[in-house]
Amino acid sequence: MPKINQTIQTTPSFRVLSENQIEMIYSAALDVIQSTGARFHHEEALELFKNSEAVVTDGNLVRVPLSLVEKAIKCHPRKINLTGRTGKYKIKLEKDVVNFGTGSDLPFTYDRETGERRRTNYNDVVNAARIVDFLPNLDFFMSHGIVQDVPNPQVYDRHQFMAMLKGCTKPMVLTCVDGDGLKDLWKMASLFRGGEKEYRLEPLFVTYIEPISPLKNDKTAVEKLLFSAEKGIPCMYTPCPSSGATAPATMAGMLVQSLSETMMASVLTYLKNPGMPLIMGGVTTVLDMITTTYSYGAPELSLASAANTDISKWLGLPMFSTGGCTDSKVLDEQAAIESATSNFYAYLSGASLVHDVGYIDSGVNASLESLVMNDEIIGMIRQMGKGINTEDEYLALELIDKIGPGGEYLTSEHTLTHYKNWFQPRLQDRSDYETWVREGQKTMNDRIREETDRILKEHQPEPIDDKIQKELEQIIDAAEKRHSK
């Protein structure tokens, strides 16, 4: 007979902040927006504010009454769907659906042949794209490296997008130089959907935009925000405060300030064109007080990001979080520890996009091997997230009785069915000592390197159709011409 009054927890459940704490942070952020305000270095933005209930003083200091803030923040869609260029990969950005992906724009790469650190180039980005296209646990792609071997740095973003598209068919998050850059990227992406309106139904990328903490918004960031609002391009306004330097040294204070920054952007886009798909974000970390490094491996980064995710879920906004990254200079034990712990925490928090997977050297250096290692980590983490099923088949009472004391389960049909739901490592070694010796005493690092080699040798993504390829190149050529003047 089925029972009544039962609560079944199908997955683990995790949160950092209680609802009351979220309300405290939200309320404090409203006060910041209303009393302290934020600066906007952009004419149109200031005009939009002046023509609203907001107050602009001191040239560019904007304060907004909380009634307007609360109206604006409710206007963003609660979910965003993204589709890769071929339609094969789709992801949903919504509460508690966790997608993992890379970060962007790393200036350096370890050359896989010489082992030397050198500047990242176009081909490095294509290779990172191919790796991400292959890896089953990476769901979206940011450029990983920054393309530097281009004629004009002011249009690097178009070339970079091209390199990304070449290698990867998964949805993307894109950085761009300015509003003009975003426009080109958006035009390029629209080609895969056959039109502007069609594109809106199936966007391929999210634009990455950042305020300057504390509470400043520069011209290019605002340009991108306004263009996104106009065209309904999904966009994240993701503060990068360093606790103790550009934000309070307390996690709560940093969260209050970051939320104010995001909500200010919400108001601006509301005034421009309500309803822009907005993703909350923040690489909320600490400035290491010995080295002055903006830390990508600090536990505070994970803690504050998970708390931020709690806030985002309460507000009904998708969340851009951080994991799989490290301050270590190479792919060593430190890298593995920091990657694993940050991925796990971000996963439990239920953030929509967990980015910077594969960053080493505090966001300065790129490692393809790190992507491969993190794929395995994320596989394990997703397994731990599956929770425990307690239906009859799973309690296995009948089976236990049938096998009885002293019996064995290896040959039972129940085992044959259910062991397939376990996590099977692709790279971790569980063999016995003798076998390990016979097979060459390989370390995890050796196996990661071999797997990276294999993917680069074998995996080719579906090519871009010739006609679209030409049109993409035309957009890039036109940008080059405009900027060479």
Binding site: A245, T292, Y294
Partner: protein
């Protein structure tokens, strides 16, 4: 009077900003040789700070409090220092080049240099090459510190150095460069005088450059 020197050194160590400023003024009023205040009070104190920082006994927030105290003392002392002494604690212009908005590292490096006794003029972020050259002409600093955090703005550092040459003032100022994507090789390529991967090495290099 020498007791006050000890108090200055101790005040620096403990980041007592007001106290260090006041004690410095008192010693000047007492008629002590400014050079002695500088060497035996301020530099002596900051040497200990530097050592404790290297040994991880002091952290950045404490070091910057000490630097602020140093700055407060130098405000009082600079007007009465001889020309020779004041060039040891010369002027530095710190600026982030055009197109670049990153300033945390530049600010930190500037504060550390204040801690070493330099007079730091902060030109802020995203500054045009012409403006930087104008400022160098106007302020005649011993050192120009350029910061760039983007591969796309790094070339502007070379542009500034060339513009200094064109203005005929390249030999009047030492240029030191820094920022995450900047390397020693790059600094040499563009003809900078020094490169620093972090604020404390930046301060050491700046001190070396003014010693000549």
């Amino acid at each position: 009077m020498s007791e006050k020197l000890g108090k200055i050194a101790d005040g620096l160590l403990h980041g007592k900003i007001d106290e260090v400023g006041e004690l410095t003024q008192e010693l000047i009023n007492d008629g002590m040789d400014p050079e002695e205040i500088l060497q035996k009070g301020l530099f002596a104190g900051m040497d200990v700070v530097g050592k404790k920082f290297r040994d991880c006994e002091m952290f950045i927030p404490e070091v910057l409090r000490s630097a602020k105290a140093m700055h407060a003392a130098m405000e009082k002392l600079r007007p009465v220092l001889s020309e020779e002494s004041s060039s040891k604690a010369g002027t530095v212009i710190m600026v982030t080049v055009q197109g670049d908005l990153h300033d945390i590292g530049k600010n930190l490096a500037g504060m550390m240099m204040e801690g070493a006794g330099f007079n730091v003029i902060d030109m802020g972020i995203d500054r045009k090459t012409e403006d930087i050259v104008e400022m160098v002409k106007k302020e005649k600093p011993q050192i120009l510190g350029l910061s760039a955090l983007l591969t796309t703005t790094m070339p502007k550092m070379g542009e500034v150095i060339n513009a200094l040459k064109e203005a005929g003032i390249r030999d009047q100022v030492k240029v030191i460069v820094g920022g995450a994507p900047v390397t020693d090789d790059f600094a040499q390529e563009i003809g900078a005088d020094a490169y620093a991967p972090n604020a404390s090495i930046g301060t050491e290099k700046a001190l070396e450059l003014v010693k000549g």
